[in-house]
């Protein structure tokens, strides 16, 4: 469990990092938090000839919140994003998801953008980005582009990043007003990758009726999988919406696989149960969010 030989680069400017990355191409690998990369190296499952350590690029260590949403720089650790109050107020789902990312010591080191580009279909943050319809800013020596979450993921541990591209920033857009979110998952042990996880989003219209209901799934497909479930609950007030029907709908659209921790049948069952739970919780949060922003005449009595 020692890594094979590699050349170590520690650029101090983004331009230098991009130059090295451009030169090393497919033989280079970015090192940020290292929570996935270092074990892969130690087990010799990955053997990049060049490691490009971006930990000296202080300009990437930032979390910015504005009307559009939350922008997370490539060096922002999960723990920092999780602790950022204005980020959590803007998008509660960020903190709801980050709390489920492994353990505090891993969140202290691992970066949110690193997790996004690692493209693990069992990871929480890709599901959050996908559910919110966020995007990733990629730069290379030859230019810059923004890739939507829907286009980012190609397969398990595989994204559409080119070898010369560095993900510098993730953009999590603010959900529409009247939106509530929830993140529920079942893992074998606290902090493990979920056997099944569901991030859910419910938007209520001005009449407090369900106007949007979507869920993103972990460990249920090769990439973070987003389902629009509105047809099961459209136009219903949250307390009579048939979230169980939404769960059944979701189950019918998912085709999970067996692994050593769970059968596919159990995963599908959990998807149904957790979808209903997550949507219900998200709807309650939406009601709460609306209640906080304006008085509810019916409840005031």
């Amino acid at each position: 469990m020692k890594p094979p030989p590699f050349h170590y680069h520690a650029p101090t400017t983004l331009a230098d990092a991009l130059t090295v990355l451009g030169e090393t191409g497919p033989h280079g690998k970015i090192l940020a938090g290292g929570q996935s990369l270092i074990p892969l190296l130690n087990m010799r499952l990955a053997a990049p000839a060049h490691l490009i350590d971006i930990n000296r690029l202080a300009e990437l260590d930032r979390v910015d919140v504005d009307d559009g949403g939350v922008r997370v720089g490539a060096l922002a650790r999960h723990a920092r994003v999780e602790a950022d109050r204005s980020a959590a107020e803007a998008i509660p789902l960020l903190r709801q998801g980050l709390r489920l990312v492994a353990h505090p010591v891993i969140r202290n080191r691992g970066t949110t953008v690193g997790s996004l580009v690692h493209a693990d279909p069992s990871a929480e943050m890709p599901a959050v980005l996908a559910l919110l319809g966020g995007s990733l800013d990629l730069v290379s020596a030859s230019g810059r582009r923004t890739v939507a979450a829907a286009d980012l993921y190609v397969g398990p541990l595989e994204s559409c990043l080119r070898a010369d591209e560095l993900a510098v920033c993730a953009r999590f857009p603010r959900p529409a007003p009247g939106t509530g979110t929830a993140f529920v998952e079942i893992a074998r042990r606290r902090g493990d990758y979920a056997v099944c996880g569901v991030a859910a989003l419910v938007t209520l219209d001005d009449d407090l009726r369900v106007a949007a209901a979507r869920a993103a799934y972990l460990s249920m497909a090769p990439v973070p999988h987003v389902l629009d479930l509105i047809e099961a609950v459209a136009g219903r007030p949250p307390d009579t919406a048939d979230f169980a029907a939404a769960g059944r709908l979701a189950r019918g659209r998912l085709d999970p696989e067996d692994d050593i921790h769970a059968t596919a049948e159990y995963r599908a069952h959990l998807a149904e149960v957790l979808t209903a739970r997550a949507l219900r919780e998200a709807a309650e949060a939406a009601v709460g969010a609306l209640g906080a922003s304006r008085p509810d005449p019916e409840r005031a009595t």
Partner: protein, 816 residues
């Protein structure tokens, strides 16, 4: 008189050093040593056609590559079969490096030595081994079917076969008013200590001697085995065991292939060589345990009293049998627990498979045996519609029947005779602790909230502290400090604390004046090792006996100097003085000076022992006949038989009706390990044991695929529970002394783990209303059982049906 240390909840003296990073584990030693790495088989079963090292030779820093062809003499022979037993049909053991065949993924094929570990792994990666892949044999079914055999020259996969019988069990069952039969499975698990194995060897060319450091549970065993392999006199081999980061059984196995290869290479190269096991290696190349299938047939009367018990065990021992048949023997005998089985017949077959070897893991066959017996007790209760605790009660051995002879031979080759214990009281206590009687109401309250809860109970008896012996050496220095050595090794249990407690009391000194050394053959060459919960029983007794010898001599020497009668002297606070006259006495250090008549003085204190220092009896020699210089003593404890601790666990679990998640709501332990040397340490042992019991019940299993690949050989996928998965544990102690040793103690190290699978299965079954016959169980497994139950493939528990009927009567509606 200082306060008595024995029985006090003394803080562990080891902890400050270990918890502040000042421990020295195997990998902390030998910074200048070469690093060894082993090329291991990627196949479960294969013939090694060729090992091509050409590419590796280009690696800068490579020192040597060895294969079986480089080994000669005893090194080329198979490793020893440590525990021979007449029931072993064909006892196969591995070679240090593969001799033509590999029989499990992870078997060492070649050894690489390089300047450091990185380079060694680089070189290992470049070694090309040509394998002819052979048919794997994975799992008990495949081993029994013997469509393929693991070892050439055998016609099946049976390594050992043993029948023990007391009375005519099959006739008793046939004649019994009630009979039942159960198939009960336990899957493989493993010790997984935080620190893996490791060996560091230095060869001293001038002295022709070897210094070996190993992360082992037996210094003396490794010493003898390595000396034999290297053709050295044991006097030229020193084994020193540094701090060890956990063992839990796996490190009692010896010598490992790596444990002989490293010293062999160190001698050959004339340079220190070190190997530190990594986590993947520990999963695929150390040892596992637990995998067993049990078929139980029981005959019983209307009260649930066993009349006959017939158990057949199929034991998966993995690729080789170096540790003999200890695990199935322990299951066969300890399965009986605190009960009288009527007539008993037990038969086991130990089977070769192309998987990692099996050696004892904390509990060592008992968790399986207790699972078999306690599931049987629950099944009897369910058949008869009786309370599960009542059925156990009628089968218990009573205190006035002690000592109780079960009529079998135990794992130490001695009779299975229980020395002491109060089993009915243990059962009563655990029922009270968990709230057994009030549980029906608790269940109904939970049901009204839509929650599903269940309660379980399991009893066990654990043979602890087997011989043949352990030794203690106690020496008082001229500085008054007491140095204690015992041969067995410590892996974090707190031996240094409890041995110091014992010696402090025996000698009348402060604990802080006692220094303990374990696992160093330079200090105590005669020893057996740390296993079977024997540290306190064996070494505790040995150091107590040695300290008594020292005390007796101290009183004699001091009496002579003080011109007093030894009977009038006592030792307290490190001083010998006339009883009732604290001023009339001397420090133990002074006594130590006087105990060693000197010709030459080397400091102020030693002047008192020189030949002109004081008047002498010219009619007697300076060292009296039969005496020896120095204030020290050595003694050994060698008990007649093992001593038998016992206990009972009870648990309440909740199972989520939707997600099948299993949550432990409360866990209670009643524990009797005889007299408690240190309740704090005993409770720590219980906590750790319960955690491993929960692990074996709900989390840990070895996921082998049909090709013999271990799919979860990492801590990401082999689920050692975190603290967050372990419930709070309530403990009550009973202290029934053992008559078999001078301290009245019994072992405590393994007890916590033993009833884990049994008690949790019992509670899940109680919550769900259908039988649970296989452990561990995950939420996915429970979900699968629910599906099968709903499909009518699993029968309901009779008591669940009865309860449903009762509720239907009360409410007038069927309960769904």
């Amino acid at each position: 008189m200082s306060a008595r240390m024995f029985g006090a909840p003394v803080q562990r003296t080891e902890d400050e050093r270990l918890l502040t990073g000042r421990g020295a584990y195997l990998d902390d030693l030998g910074a200048d040593a070469y690093a060894a790495v082993f090329v291991r088989s990627p196949h479960a079963h294969a013939r090694v056609r060729d090992v091509d090292v050409t590419d590796a030779l280009d690696v800068d820093g490579l020192i040597a590559v060895y294969t079986h062809e480089d080994l000669t003499g005893p090194m080329a022979e198979p490793l020893p079969l440590l525990l021979p037993h007449p029931c072993i049909v064909d006892g196969r053991t591995p070679h240090a490096l593969a001799a033509g065949y590999v029989h499990h993924v992870g078997a060492p094929v070649a050894m690489v030595v390089a300047r450091d570990r990185y380079l060694a792994e680089d070189a290992a990666e470049r070694i090309a081994v040509d394998y002819e892949v052979l048919a794997p044999v994975v799992g008990i079914e495949a081993a029994v079917a013997a469509e393929h055999v693991v070892h050439a020259g055998m016609s099946d996969n049976v390594a050992a076969h043993l029948v023990q019988e007391v009375g005519d069990a099959r006739a008793a069952i046939a004649a019994a008013p009630h009979r039942l039969e159960l198939d009960l499975d336990i899957e493989r698990s493993a010790c997984t200590p935080m620190e893996g194995r490791g060996v560091y060897a230095r060869w001293d060319e001038a002295g022709g001697s070897l210094r070996l450091y190993s992360s082992t549970q037996t210094a003396s065993g490794v010493r003898a085995a390595v000396a034999a392999k290297l053709g050295l006199d044991v006097g030229r081999v020193e084994v020193v065991v540094p701090d060890v980061g956990g063992g839990f059984g796996v490190k009692i196995m010896h010598p490992w292939p790596e444990e002989v290869m490293v010293p062999w290479a160190a001698r050959r190269l004339g340079h220190g060589v070190k190997w530190t096991e990594d986590r993947r290696e520990h999963f695929i190349a150390a040892a596992h345990e637990r995998g067993q299938r049990h078929t139980v047939r029981a005959g019983f009367d209307d009260e649930g009293r066993l009349l006959g018990l017939d158990v057949e065990i199929l034991h998966d021992n993995g690729a080789y049998l170096p540790y003999g048949v200890i695990v199935p023997i322990v299951t066969s005998t300890q399965l009986l627990g605190p009960y009288k089985p009527g007539a008993y017949r037990v038969e086991f077959r130990s089977l070769y498979t192309t998987t990692v070897i099996v050696t004892p893991y904390r509990g060592a066959g008992r968790p399986q045996g207790v699972f078999a017996m306690e599931r049987t007790m629950d099944a009897i209760a369910d058949r008869l519609g009786r309370d599960r605790a009542e059925v156990r009660e009628v089968n218990l051995i009573r205190p006035d029947e002690m000592p109780y002879d079960q009529g079998l031979l135990f794992q130490d080759g001695r009779p299975l005779v229980y020395d002491s214990g109060d089993y009915p009281r243990t059962l009563r206590m655990v029922k009270e602790l968990i709230g057994w009687e009030g549980f029906a109401a608790e269940r109904e309250r939970a049901r009204a909230e839509g929650r599903r809860i269940g309660i379980g109970l399991a009893c066990y008896v654990e043979g602890t502290g087997p011989g043949p012996y352990e030794g203690g050496h106690v020496q008082v220095g001229t500085d008054g400090r007491v140095r204690v050595a015992t041969g067995l090794t410590s892996q974090g249990q707190g031996h240094h604390t409890i041995l110091a407690q014992i010696v402090a009391d025996e000698l009348g000194v402060a604990m802080s004046d006692v220094e303990v050394t374990t696992g160093d053959t330079r200090r105590m060459p005669y020893s057996v090792g740390t296993f079977a919960s024997r540290g306190a029983v064996m070494s505790g007794s040995a150091v107590a006996l040695a300290a008594r010898k020292v005390r007796e001599k101290a009183l004699r020497v001091a009496a002579d100097a003080l011109e007093a009668d030894p009977g009038d002297l006592e030792i307290a606070g490190g001083r010998v003085h006339v009883r009732g006259v604290p001023g009339a006495g001397m420090d133990l250090g002074t006594v130590a000076v006087l105990s060693n008549p000197l010709r030459y003085a080397f400091d102020e204190a030693s002047r008192a022992a020189t030949q002109f220092a004081r008047p002498a009896d010219h009619a007697a020699p300076p060292v009296p006949e039969g005496d020896a210089p120095g204030l020290e003593g050595t003694d050994f404890h060698s008990p007649l038989r093992s001593t038998f601790a016992n206990g009972a666990h009870a648990v309440v679990v909740e199972t989520d009706p939707e997600t099948a998640e299993i949550t432990i709501l409360r866990y209670c332990v009643v524990h009797d390990c005889g007299r408690l040397v240190n309740p704090l340490i005993v409770e720590g042992q219980i906590h750790g044991g319960v955690a491993q019991g929960v692990a074996g019940a709900l989390y840990e299993r070895m996921a082998y695929d049909a090709d013999g690949q271990l799919l979860n050989a990492s801590f990401m996928d082999f689920l050692v529970p975190y603290a967050s998965e372990i419930p709070p544990i309530r403990i009550a102690h009973l202290e029934t002394p053992s008559p078999l040793n001078p301290l009245g103690v019994k072992g405590a190290g393994e007890a916590g783990v033993i009833p884990g699978a049994a008690v949790i299965a019992s509670a899940i079954e109680d919550a769900e209303g259908f039988p649970v016959r296989s452990m561990p169980i995950s939420p996915s497994d429970l979900f699968g059982l629910r599906r099968r139950f709903a499909a009518g493939e699993i029968p309901p528990l009779r008591r669940a049906e009865r309860a449903r009927g009762r509720r239907a009567n009360e409410t007038g509606e069927p309960d769904v």
